[in-house]
């Protein structure tokens, strides 16, 4: 073992820190573009999952606004507003946040909902994913006009949406969040699409 003074120990630690920082920054720069590309592709893919590509001709992933901490992507066709895609998060899941993407047409009717991320129990709450169950499709083409607001809830809460056997908290969180997004869109429609005034 080399002899040590506090100064030489500190000096060695500093040298090692510089080497490690150098290596990490090198890898960071090498992977940066690919990571940005991945995030971009993932966003595009999730936007296309809620809104058919034939409905719009702009790039919604490049046209977004943020209102009250909610991100809204806007879809147009020939410069006329077609739909808004709203990304939101609810903390009311069974374990952790549920992140979802809701597409609404300009009348405020729901086009589609997809779950982006969740930590719900496998085999129970994860039926909110399209690849596990078709439940999430029950939002398609729902409007507030079709249903009284109180029916916009899971059946256990006297609403219109199925819950899952053994899991009510997860679907309840999703239904309530979509309802909130629907109301949010109605209230902020003209802020999202100033053309509609």
């Amino acid at each position: 073992m080399p002899t040590s003074t506090p100064l030489s120990a500190a000096f060695r630690l500093a040298c090692f820190s510089f080497i490690v920082i150098g290596l990490v920054s090198f890898v960071f720069h090498q992977t940066k573009d690919k990571i940005i590309q991945n995030e971009h592709d993932a966003l595009l893919q999730s936007l296309q999952s809620v809104l058919a590509q034939t409905l719009y001709d702009n790039k919604p992933n490049e046209d977004s606004i943020t209102l009250e901490n909610v991100i809204i992507y806007r879809a147009y066709r020939a410069n006329t507003p077609v739909a808004a895609i709203i990304k939101s998060t609810t903390p009311r899941g069974y374990s952790g946040d549920i992140q979802l993407l809701t597409a609404l047409d300009i009348t405020g009717s729901i086009l589609a909902v997809r779950i982006l991320d969740h930590k719900e129990t496998a085999g129970l709450g994860d039926k909110i994913e399209l690849k596990k169950s078709s439940w999430i499709l029950s939002f398609n083409h729902k409007t507030f006009a079709d249903m009284q607001r109180s029916q916009w809830a899971v059946k256990r809460d006297q609403g219109n949406f199925d819950q899952f056997t053994g899991a009510t908290i997860t679907p309840r969180a999703v239904v309530n969040e979509v309802k909130k997004i629907g109301l949010f869109f109605q209230q902020h429609k003209t802020q999202i699409f100033p053309q509609l005034k």
Binding site: M1, P2, S4, S8, A9, A10, R12, L13, F16, S17, V20, I21, L23, V24, V27, F28, T31, K34, I35, N38, A42, D117, T121, A122, G123, L124, G166
Partner: protein, 210 residues
């Protein structure tokens, strides 16, 4: 210590998960499916090999009073690089494993091997030790993941495409069709029970061998 002993130590005698009981947090949390277990096992093994190798190389310049911050620095650097590379090249898997990749830093098995082995041994034996310890740990992760996936979902190797690309989509074995699932196995408590059973199995095999 011969290479044979090092390998046997890592895989069996001093298995980090079954004997040393280190790194249980990621072990219990990510072992809900075979593929998740395998993926975290591979990332942990890679970290172990690299950290053991690096630490062994610089072992003669490490002063005893700064060894712990230095180990943490080296391990954290390696894990950050692995995380960046996974984010870039295995995006889906990165999304699935999420927080557990950066948390590899806190896996005590890695700093444990740095302290006990790599800082006292030559480069090559340290690499082998990292590999053997990593494989022993991964093996337990995969077996645990298999048990829990089978009991909770009735399948094995589901979502292999996250790790092996699109052609792996149909690797999945559905063993029990229309299986309603033993939920306990999906919950954290289930992974404690499954790990307990594995440890008991290992101990009984050893008793029998005597």
């Amino acid at each position: 210590m011969t290479y044979q002993q090092i390998v046997k130590n890592g895989l069996w005698t001093n298995n980090q998960a079954l004997v040393a009981l280190l790194g249980l947090c990621p072990l219990l949390a990510v072992s809900n499916t075979t593929i998740n277990g395998l993926a975290l096992g591979m990332a942990t093994t890679l970290t172990l090999i690299l950290s053991n190798g690096c630490i062994s190389l610089v072992r003669n310049t490490i002063l005893p009073e700064i060894r712990l911050p230095l180990f943490v620095l080296i391990i954290a650097g390696i894990v950050t690089m692995i995380e960046l590379l996974m984010h870039a090249y295995f995006y889906q898997l990165y999304k699935t494993l999420g927080i557990f990749i950066p948390l590899i830093v806190t896996n005590c098995a890695i700093i444990g091997r740095a302290e006990v082995f790599a800082s006292k041994n030559k480069f090559l034996p340290s690499l082998v030790d990292g590999l053997a310890m990593g494989l022993g740990f991964s093996f337990v992760l995969v077996v645990l993941g298999g048990m829990r996936e089978f009991l909770s979902l009735g399948s094995l190797l589901s979502q292999a495409n996250l790790l092996f690309g699109e052609q792996a989509k149909n690797w999945q074995f559905i063993i029990l069709d229309d299986y309603s699932g033993l939920l306990l196995a999906a919950f954290p408590a289930g992974s404690f029970i499954a790990l307990g059973l594995l440890i008991a199995l290992k101990n009984s095999l050893e008793v029998d061998a005597k």
